[in-house]
Symmetry: D2
């Protein structure tokens, strides 16, 4: 299985606090435990400032599951990149959308919805409850786990009704959020996972790493089918 981790990679270059937490970039922090994972093969990374946003056709063609982290530069992602990624998801590639990528062009294009929410950067504590313990993305996790400091995201979350709600978060400040949710689009599986604000060490948390590794395995393609809208002959005699 080939995994590609996309990161806009901007905060790390301008905010020393983020650079200190993620010296190789958020993408490398996400990549490290996946590189050590027995079920994962090649792990590539790609960033906004790479040619073709790091996602030319040959990279997407060779990607089974794509992870996406973006925040301040959503608008800078080329529309052609968004179209290539969406096309590959509809063919069967898995997609894992992380934290502030709720407002990424890629996620909004696949959801068709606002993907808006309420938010607060004020060092809330977040507790994620496992709502669907039998979901493969929850495998090996305790009934709940905590992130001692995170940005708050609160409901209503402007998304289409999910297929499964895997996690719901409780925040110190009084809010709740569907923090792990799944859909299928075309032949591809999509998982949105809430935590991951750049100023906190979230991607170093073992439970978060476990969720991401589980999600990568869950999102692995079953088929690869190019879009087609064929004119077809009848299978039975027409009158």
């Amino acid at each position: 299985m080939n995994v590609t981790i996309w990161n806009e990679h901007r905060h790390e270059k301008t905010n020393p606090r983020v650079a200190a937490l993620y010296p190789g970039g958020i993408h490398e922090a996400i990549a490290a435990p996946l590189r050590a994972h027995p079920a994962v093969g090649t792990v590539r990374t790609a960033t906004l400032d790479d040619p073709e946003n790091g996602l030319p056709v040959r990279v997407l063609d060779a990607t089974d599951v794509l992870l996406w982290w973006g925040h301040v530069a959503h608008k800078e992602v080329c529309d052609s990149t968004v179209q290539r990624v969406q096309k590959r998801v509809l063919e069967g590639m898995g997609l894992i959308v992380l934290h502030s990528a709720h407002h990424s062009k890629v996620f909004k294009a696949l959801m068709g919805d606002t993907c808006s929410l309420r938010w607060r950067e004020a060092t809330d504590r977040e507790r994620l409850w496992v709502v669907t313990p039998a979901h493969p993305i929850a495998a090996g996790l305790p009934a709940h786990f905590e992130l001692p400091a995170e940005e708050m995201y609160g409901e209503p979350f402007g998304i289409p009704a999910p297929e499964h709600v895997v996690f719901i978060s409780w925040f110190t400040g009084g809010e709740v959020f569907r923090s792990g949710v799944t859909w299928q689009r075309g032949n591809g599986r999509v998982f949105y996972f809430r935590p991951g604000h750049e100023t906190y060490p979230t991607y170093h948390n073992a439970h978060v790493q476990r969720v991401i590794a589980n999600a990568v395995q869950w999102a692995r393609p079953v088929v690869r089918i190019a879009d087609a809208c064929p004119n077809t002959a009848p299978l039975e005699p027409l009158p």
Copy 2:
């Protein structure tokens, strides 16, 4: 309740067979029974070649439910029109997508999927089965009804898992199709209804008219809420 019927209005101008079936355009054929319906107030029509595609902000602002018929000119619809329509659906406006509009920009933007299918123009007979008799869109319909001549659409239909499947069609040539399906996007309700090829008198069929009238009532907005992603203060003391 204010209804707007949008039609690309091209076939009627170039194909005498279509012009004969729908002398005022498909939009007027759809409008006539709605204008006579006690639960429907104003019925407007709008077409592709009108300024702003007939759907400027003031028209959309005054529309509770929009119906959309398009076929050969999907690409000519302005992207700004698509964005205005999508924004209004997410605010709460109902949308009824008819037949070949499965590949309209508006529907694809809301679904995020291929919306592709198999098809054949060969005068199949279509029988629509009511799969969810308790759905308001099926109110007053028999267990099944037939259209003696229609274009065939067959599965797989490239759509996100619907909230409800109201109708499934059987075709003489051997195919099946989820021909009446619902979703919610943002605060708006969306209904896709399969029949309606321009060379057949489908919109003069009493059962089809009943489905459309039911769908218009079902899709009526419950709320109107503009998209927002607010920064909010905590409701409980943070540590």
Copy 3:
């Protein structure tokens, strides 16, 4: 529209605190605002100790929407009563399941699931967030509302994937819960609403009363269809 409110009516007879809060029984507290509601017609009540548990065929036949509150006496409800209620829901009657009735025989029979959860009687504060503002059950409600004292129910809630999650609750003690959820079973609509512990004045809360009145209107039957599994002749010639 005819509404019947069922209550096991036991706590009120043995616990003075409950009797003081609900002198006429929980059923009468729920009935009062519905009796004053313009969209509701007759409001009946029925209790466990009535003949046939207060729900003989003629009462169920004349009921459009049934509300159910039970707690300590789930096992005392006759299996024949459960079967009558389930049959009527499948025909089209609406059902609103309140609080501790998550473990009622009626709800478990319709869900086929454990319907279990975690709980605590310790006077948590509960804040209900509106997750689906466009749902008719949320009409007229603020973005969130609070109950200053309630029993806690926490996830995971052992229910089939709901059609819509209308509310998610936040609790002081650190838990979350899908506190307003909908399903369809047969031709009937089912709504589970979490709040309503007998030792708190929850059914006197205006927001709770609003939710219940909205739910009663939402759950109104669209059709009434008796179960049948008919042997049917072919509609097309068989080979």
Copy 4:
């Protein structure tokens, strides 16, 4: 992975045509290809007339996926057997419900619905269309496959809204049916698969065998969790 195939095993003893098609019983016909499958371990069979209906606790405890075929003797299945099976599904065991078992006590208990349909024994031809090509249950199948002779089942099918519709069937006589559908109940996965009337060689069909083998793998448990409704201490200080 341990698979148990349950069959009421009555038609084979009384109808020579069925006995000729399935000399070892329908259960053995289903078992044979699974016994040869590399991903499947032990394959047991169990029948209605075995002690405890062939499904004592120790058998269910050792079963990962249970297949169920029943028809004329649904009522003879002990209620205690139904309760044991339902409990194991809710813990995590997979369940594959075949053909006329749509009216089995086990399936109805898990669905809470009528599970009724229209039907005809008249040697229709059935064509199953793959509606969700990316579903693991459809792996390796063509876009559609045919059964030259089958009993007809037609919509409406009285089931809760499925999580995924994998197949929809077309019948010569003019009907359609959601012939492969999935749900989750508790921690267990449930798949209903329509074909399999006892007087036809359906279980010798390679495509049908493929669907069943795929479904067995898909339904494999992710977790095993006993039902519990725990009283839990707060995780945060209560006021």
